[in-house]
């Protein structure tokens, strides 16, 4: 493989001194990844050794620090929506659902407009994770493609739910059975629309497990954590089966466990992502 003299052993950081007049690529700033893969004679070409001559603004930190700002909006919208605390019951009659939307029209509208605006802001965060995954000791980009493959659909499923909620509140005085239909569509899309999140956590867990080095991009426990979150999201998929109990859309498992899991995932992934970005930049400073 070109540009690679000595193959690093397991867990070794291959540091390749930069040659004088070396052409500096404009690849985004990344740490020097170790390229060792189990039992392999040849290592993949390191991706990140073209480092810029000086510290550049890559924008990753901007995306990263946008997350807390967006999270505040998400939390605000969550509390603003009158149907979350406590969650509306699937047992409500059509009449009661219609009355609910008639009574709380404004709060439903404004909270869901906020969600509609900002739920897609999850995608840049997921793309930051995808960029971290470049540094993992993988031989192919396939797991990144898997994450990209679900990164769009996950927030779009939620976006669809906000559309149904907004439709329910658009003409609250229509026939109650129609308002109830929109309400059901919104809640089922919101609660059961987890397949892409489950897959996201599984893909990340596999990616982290396969990043077998002494200093992986994300620590091994992050992989375990993602698996745990995937498991916590599973009961929500069964919300269609019952109107009462822990699996109902307002139940302990389908509502509380699922949403707490998503919140926890965001917090934990934000922390490890922040650490990873900071580590990259310190590596960059050492090399430059």
């Amino acid at each position: 493989m070109p540009g690679f003299e000595r193959l690093p052993g397991p867990g070794e950081q291959p540091v390749r001194p930069r040659e004088p007049n070396e052409r500096v690529g404009h690849v985004s700033v990344r740490p020097v990844p170790t390229t060792w893969l189990p039992g392999m004679k040849q290592a993949a070409q390191p991706i990140g050794y073209h480092l810029p001559p000086m510290k550049r603004l890559t924008g990753e930190r901007i995306i990263f620090w946008a997350l807390p700002a967006v999270a505040i909006i998400w939390i605000a919208a969550f509390f603003l929506f009158p149907g979350f605390l406590p969650p509306m019951s699937p047992e409500w009659s059509a009449q009661r659902v219609a009355t609910f939307y008639a009574d709380h029209t404004s709060r439903v509208r404004y909270s869901m407009i906020l969600f509609n605006w900002f739920c897609v802001a999850l995608i840049p965060i997921l793309m930051l994770i995808v960029e971290r995954m470049r540094g993992m000791a993988h031989r192919t980009p396939i797991l990144r493609y898997c994450v990209i493959g679900v990164a769009g659909a996950a927030p779009i499923a939620f976006l669809t739910a906000t559309i149904f909620w907004l439709l329910a509140a658009f003409r609250p005085h229509r026939a109650p059975s129609l308002t109830q239909l929109y309400n059901d569509l919104a809640w089922i899309t919101f609660t059961c629309g987890v397949p892409f999140l489950v897959a996201l956590c599984l893909f990340l867990a596999v990616a982290i497990y396969l990043d077998e080095r002494a200093r992986p991009v994300f620590a091994r426990w992050v992989g375990h954590f993602n698996l745990l979150i995937a498991v916590a999201l599973v009961p929500a998929g069964f919300a269609g089966l019952t109107l009462t109990g822990p699996f109902a859309w307002n139940g302990f498992l389908s509502f509380w466990v699922k949403n707490v899991a998503i919140a926890l995932w965001l917090v934990v992934m934000a922390v490890v992502l922040g650490q990873s970005i900071r580590r990259d930049q310190s590596v960059e400073q050492v090399l430059v």
Partner: protein
Amino acid sequence: MRRPALLDDPKRELWLAWYATIGFYSLYTVVFFIITRTQPPGKPWYTPTQVVGWFASNHEGLLIGFSLIFILGGLSATSIALITYSMRRMSVSRAFAYSYLIIYAVSAVPGFLFICVAMTVGAFRPGRDPEILRWLYDLGFLSFSGTMGVFLIGSLIWMAAILLDKNRVFPAWFGYLNLCNALTEVVVAPSWIFHAGVFAWNGVIAWWINVVVFGLYTGAFIFLLRNMILREDFGTGPLPDLLPEEGRRRVLAEFMSP
């Protein structure tokens, strides 16, 4: 605990994605054809009362089957990722690979999440007004069969990439088969127009013939993706020919020897 052999395989990521693809398509077939019995589809000419009966007779199957999709449906991304990877391995621009990835990633929501939501909502509250139930029934079947353009354009992109490729990742006949698959998306269009007959969403032409073509196409690409993984040399030039079993093992052993 012994370390599984797969973990020391340099192609482990590709194999994981391939087995997940097999798992996803098996799940998909079992859920749609056996558990929910939404394939072959329900009758488009049903009256609202008959739709109520349809939901009642499939109640448990719809709810349990689509729950499985709600949990594992995201694994569809593995086959998309493998196909994207196949195009990245070709001598063509990566624009082909990325277009395919985006198109299929986006199509997941209308292509299969909508039917799951619509049918779950329908089965979940059987006492609803029959007209509303039929509205959900139409939404489910038509969004599932009638999400056409993404698969049409996606197949054409894959076809163009295969025919232009000089790395021999896929045989040209499979490129042409993509055209056949793209044409099935044209043939399904009349299901938006007819309530009965061969062109309706359960019709002989718009459903049965199409599903046979799609099944052959899917089987072919799963098999060819496996061959691609076996032939993969992680280089950038033409993929080597597929060696017989023992030849593959020898090359792998050579590759892995210290």
